[in-house]
Symmetry: C3
Subunit: 604 residues, 3 copies
């Protein structure tokens, strides 16, 4: 239902919060938007308290006026459902609508996103407000798109209140049907945790020691699904009232709390808020990763960059500005990675509130004498010649496998080592980008037919479906690269016995007997194929090749001489295994060899 | 009402807690006090539980005896109102008199200062106890001064309970009259925070993300005022019963929680507890700063050093003793900076309780063979020849501007960078002391007529009144030195638009377009007037001179070549601006030039 | 009642959790146990939820079967009372049986050990379950020993709930009889803390500042005693039903929460869980210390190593495996230090739950091709030739004094420096082991007649009884070595006045005037007897010898030239005092000299 052609080129704009400014500024805004080439603004995201100042009393007058003004200047509107932050009256009227931490602290007003996603009356108010707004503006000529809520899960991705506990139990009933099945899945024979009644089950609140890991894992799944219900509730209203208007909600890239693979299915177009840190040496890597994830979530459909900072943000401890030219470059990067829209938070930098030091397209100093404004305006002009890009597609021959179940499972406590997923993914991604590859991020059970090479930096939790998918991929001629500690557990986080990595032993042509995680700062020597010795970190293990060829060996400790990296010819394909965390250059070298072997053209 | 002449010389003494010792020790104490030259002790600070063992039942017998004993030995008494720490019975009787944290944890008995300042019954008990003590000892010949409560705000400077929330709302009504005014001041159009009912307003308790900054700022103001009400309540009783006896409460130097500019007005004499760390390389700097603040709070009136440690304290992780001679030197320093009294915590080191390892004038080892006692006694003798000092006044030609509103505002979250005020103030103070200057600390709206030079290390929050004050000061020939990120917001923490630093652009002859905060550990090169290049930290920015002369320029990054330090001839005066955090030596050099320019004599 | 001869040699086995596995694995387990030489398993530790699936309904069928199977294979059973972790139904039925933190957070289900030790109904269920199990298996031929609960105090060593507060008050009444006595002991004259009613007393919950130290100290004593009551409750039942079966509960070495000196008296044999970190350079030192403590707790009686890891654990951040051979060596070490049994956690590595990455005797990979299994089996075989060791006794000529009262008191807040006890004990222990000494750990009031040398790395809290004990020991010819900051307070943590270290001045022949703790990273030069200068840390002080001979002097700071280490000939013995924290080698040198002087044979 989303068609970029309706926008007449690359979308360019920002969040627009006119309620923070007097009317005479609105007219100035419209003029400046034209000057900058703005064609779309997101409106009303935080307007609930103004639109519904008292329960059931609405005041749409000012919004009507802004909509008309924008339309009069040819600026389209990505209209928010205004539900992102409930007004103080809602928190006062329903004290149990305020979310609760794992420690039992009920949070309070003053910030934003203060709601328990399970609260029935809150959901009711959300539904009503959405219906009011959708009904009122359904036919407004400025309306281009619906912006549902805002940054779901940004602050509150888990609420531990009793209402959520009830919803969790219902979700578990849906997943397991019987307590016997749940007890089996959670392994409650351990530590005397067998449940005899659904009412005994709790969220993983603060406990004397590590809560049950499958309880924790299911809690993360539930928490994502529970917030998704909120999104669905609004989308249901919108699709009913304005079936032809596309719907989106802005994602936050690699956000830990929400399984965007599930979420993206329910949007018409994916949109992204991306805030790479300008003080990083390579901010484009984090940016590019999130662009590629967004493009991948809906099978290559181009996405919208819904928020980015014109210059500095306000929420890091020390917020560097974007140096001259950097903003433009990152936007060109976004277009190249599949964006069709380039929008900012926010149009005009605020005078007050918690985000007043977040840069705006119109800075505090005003537009006339600001280099940020100049860059903003010049980019707007430049985009007019780049409309064709919105029809281009991005082809990747390499996919990185990524999913939230694995992320959650890997980072649960009680592991051989406290591994973090994103540093591994970032490291592999940087190496692949250094070899000139476009990269898709794919779900483990996705169709891999389009790829020559699939990289799995870590796939600790691997379902039977995913393992079969990988097996078929290699069998059919694909090249698979698998990082250490992959294929260890099933979807319940139960260990696959009989030699790691469970269901991948055949494809990889080896089995792992035991792990030898390193301490922080500790290294272990690895001898590469050419004889070079490098210092690997984090992980070592005892690998028994069973068909695989050894490409690198450990060169110290009790596992010295044992395989560290292997390659296995399987079916028509090749399966690599990395039993340690190689330094960046060695990893890149290994990936280069694998890509060459797979016939993928490189470009340094 | 406070007249040092009534004390017959420099006040010398300590907190005295006879209730911790048997009667025979009291007589030994009196004898030793005479030996040491003690002429004043603070009595009864933590005696509530003994004086009123059960609600409404009083036992003053032991205190009568101690008062008489001291009087008999010629030792005056700074009598406490005994309200510093309510007895356990009060906490049990009124569970809601126990203070609450921002997380909702109600604190418990076992420590001290366990009270919510808003609790009505607690206030009632405080009033009654004060009246009892005042009435009983009004005419006692040993009585010299009232010591109200103790170290207000030391542990509990904010209570988040529901009673305090109610008081906060009342305070806000007093400040803003209407909700519209409050909504405007707090910028509640942002993040859907508009309040429709006073009851919706809460303290900035733990929230999903940054609470509203003006809510936080007003909360700090309220919390200081709310505790000040407690102080006023006691003072009201005391002034009624003994109008001729001076009143004080001991301050804690640069304490974050209480706005001492407001507090000091309500005392007859300022008193200070000062605990510089003997393991610091320059403990005299912290000590001197707090002495100068105390002297400044009441317009140059000499103050009392009410507490200091004879040697080590007990509450740091590692407590160094004062090496031989250091205690004496720090006391001479206090006299030179304006003290008229030199007192210790405490007379006799305790055997039990949480402060038993805090040094006392009489150490655990006993007086006969202790070097601490020897130093104490020798100082007491020495002071007898220094009475004249209590009439001396301290003249400063340089003032450092300092106020709590700015401190609170600067250190709120969501800033361009997480700046801390005190390190900047300390750095400028050290440079000025190195140039031989006496320094006053002045409120931004204070009369600046007495000064040649005013330094504003940081004035992030600057009212229109303060800006006008500075403008008039320079206009009239004064020299102003302003640090970066000054003049940014008004009293509601709203940004002044149109080019920073808001209301100071004219005086400084420049405008700032954008900031480029540095990361921790990052430096930026600055070329000084003579061509020397130094490495500055924390902050850089893009300055556009508009009349000002450039004294130093940035020498790297995208703002290279731009002004880093400027001077503007304005009216009959000079206004300097520092757009970065210079190293100590360069800062001192700059200040030296400015002082010379202002005709202030230097002394290295 | 415990007789190792009944086990026919060294005990060898593991925790066995068959409830996590299907029946066909049980039979494989029995076969493999025989193959490995296993003769004892701990059974049922976490079986409560299976044995009593609903309140009062029991299902012992599966346990009967396992008991019979084990007996059929000649494997004895150390049968658990199954009370270690109550089932979820208990937490739901009695919400106030869930323990509470010092912040007031009530903990929740999902982990283990979720109980308040004071809860009456919980205690009732524990009693009933114990009686059920004891009754059912009293006559079972596989039963060898009772394993009471599991790792008491591992996660919950203090519960701050209202029930525990009530028990605390009762315990205090028992200890002090009158409030006057309590007020004196707690020093409540300080900070207005005098109690007028028992009901006013609280646990040391979160407070505005440091709670009363004696309150904290008594709370630690109470908390250990309160959990001990739970243990006694079970033992009472067991001794009644099966008076001839020995009883134990597994200790955790130097566990902060429980005073094992008191606990061990109530066992028939001490058992230990020992988990030295294989990534430490010297894991045998931590292991050896805990072995020696266990052997010492019951006067030299050999102990059981109840749990150890075959290879890696799962609960550190980075869990190194035990390299080949290390497990065997540590077990031989345990035998040499007095173990009669060598058991593991656990028999078979779990597939699910929070400990699935804790190694097992049977690893995930299965036994056939695992080096861990090979080492396990070989050790089992080797042990068959070592039965004689179970009758050997360990003779030590050196004792290290160690007790929980001192540990708790030393690490309370508000000290001259934040000293930690265990690093000091470990340092002295390492030095003594380096000199070839067997070391006993003795209570300060224990009979010292068997020792030539007693070392007191720190004895901050020293009772009059302990001081008299040490005095008599030296008088009678013993050699005492005392570390700094010893002999400072009595059992109420009241300072001994008149020169430190209180009651030890006579024995040591000196008095200490004042302390000069160092900052972290700071050192102070000490000149040793031979003239060598070393850098000491943590502590310095001003010592006045009064009969003692100076062995080393401070060489810097204001105490330069003063004694740092002394020796005093007292009666027929020698008393050394160390006034600083010497480097390891200098400490070892000093101990070597003292041991030589005492005629103790050394062996490097
Ligand atoms: Zn909830
Ligand atoms: Zn309060
Ligand atoms: Zn409890």
């Amino acid at each position: 239902m989303f068609d970029i052609k309706a926008f007449g080129g690359v979308i360019y704009g920002a969040d627009y919060n006119p309620e923070q400014w007097p009317r005479d500024v609105w007219r100035e805004d419209a003029r400046l938007m034209n000057e900058a080439g703005v064609n779309l603004v997101s409106l009303g995201i935080f307007s609930w308290a103004l639109l519904e100042p008292r329960p059931g009393e609405y005041d749409f007058g000012w919004l009507d006026e802004v909509m008309d003004l924008l339309h009069g200047h040819g600026v389209g509107v990505n209209l928010a459902t205004a539900t992102a932050s409930p007004p103080p009256w809602l928190s006062l009227k329903y004290p149990d609508s305020k979310p609760v931490t794992a420690d039992g602290v009920r949070l309070e007003v003053g910030g934003r996103q203060l709601y328990c996603p399970s609260h029935a009356a809150f959901r009711g108010h959300v539904r009503t407000l959405t219906r009011q707004i959708a009904g009122r503006y359904a036919a407004h000529p400025a309306l281009r798109m619906w912006h549902v809520n805002n940054e779901y899960g940004c602050h509150i991705d888990q609420c531990y209140c009793e209402l959520c506990a009830e919803n969790f139990r219902a979700w578990l009933r849906g997943r397991y049907s019987t307590l016997d099945a749940l007890n089996a899945a959670w392994g409650t024979a351990f530590w005397s945790q067998r449940y005899g009644d659904w009412a005994e089950i709790q969220p993983p609140r603060r406990a004397p020691t590590y809560p049950n890991p499958t309880q924790q894992l299911d809690w993360r799944r539930f928490s994502s699904d529970n917030i998704l219900e909120l999104y669905r509730l609004e989308v249901g209203v919108l699709r009913e009232v304005t079936p032809e208007i596309p719907v989106t909600t802005n994602f936050l890239g690699f956000l830990p709390g929400l399984d965007y693979h599930k979420w993206a299915r329910e949007e018409d177009v994916v949109s992204l808020d991306a805030y790479p840190d300008p003080s990083d040496a390579a901010p484009h890597l984090d940016a590019g990763m999130s662009y590629d994830l967004m493009r991948s979530l809906r099978g290559g459909q181009r996405f919208l960059l819904m928020e980015q900072a014109p210059s500095a943000v306000n929420w890091r401890q020390h917020n560097a500005p974007k140096r001259p030219g950097l903003m433009r470059v990152l936007n060109h990067q976004a277009l190249a990675h599949g964006a069709s829209g380039l929008m900012f938070f926010q149009w005009r930098a605020s005078r007050a509130g918690a985000e007043k030091y977040h840069s705006g397209m119109v800075p505090h100093v005003g537009p006339e004498r600001s280099r940020v404004w100049r860059e903003v305006r010049e980019l707007g002009q430049e985009l007019k010649s780049l409309s064709a890009l919105t029809g281009a597609s991005v082809r990747s021959r390499v996919a990185v496998m990524f999913d939230w179940d694995n992320w959650w499972a890997l980072e649960l406590d009680s592991k051989p080592a406290a591994l973090k997923l994103m540093p591994l993914v970032r490291k592999w991604y940087a190496a692949l980008r250094g070899l000139g590859q476009n990269v898709d991020f794919v779900h483990p059970e996705a169709d891999l037919g389009a790829y020559d090479v699939v990289a799995l930096p870590n796939g600790y939790l691997l379902t039977a479906g995913a393992a079969g998918n990988l097996r078929a991929f290699v069998q059919g001629g694909g090249t698979l690269l698998t990082g250490f500690f992959s294929g260890i557990v099933d979807e319940h986080e139960h260990v696959q016995l009989g030699g790691y990595p469970g269901l991948l032993r055949g494809v990889l042509g080896l089995w792992v007997e035991e792990w030898a995680p390193l301490q922080p700062g500790e290294t272990t020597a690895v001898r590469l194929e050419g004889g070079e010795e490098v210092q690997a970190t984090q992980w070592a293990e005892v690998i028994h090749p069973d068909g695989a060829q050894v490409l690198a060996t450990f060169a110290q400790d009790y596992y010295a001489g044992g395989a560290a990296v292997t390659r296995h010819a399987f079916g028509a394909g090749q399966a690599y295994y990395l039993g340690t965390d190689l330094p960046q250059a060695a990893l890149a070298g290994l990936l280069e060899g694998a890509l060459r072997g797979a016939g993928v053209p490189l470009c340094h």
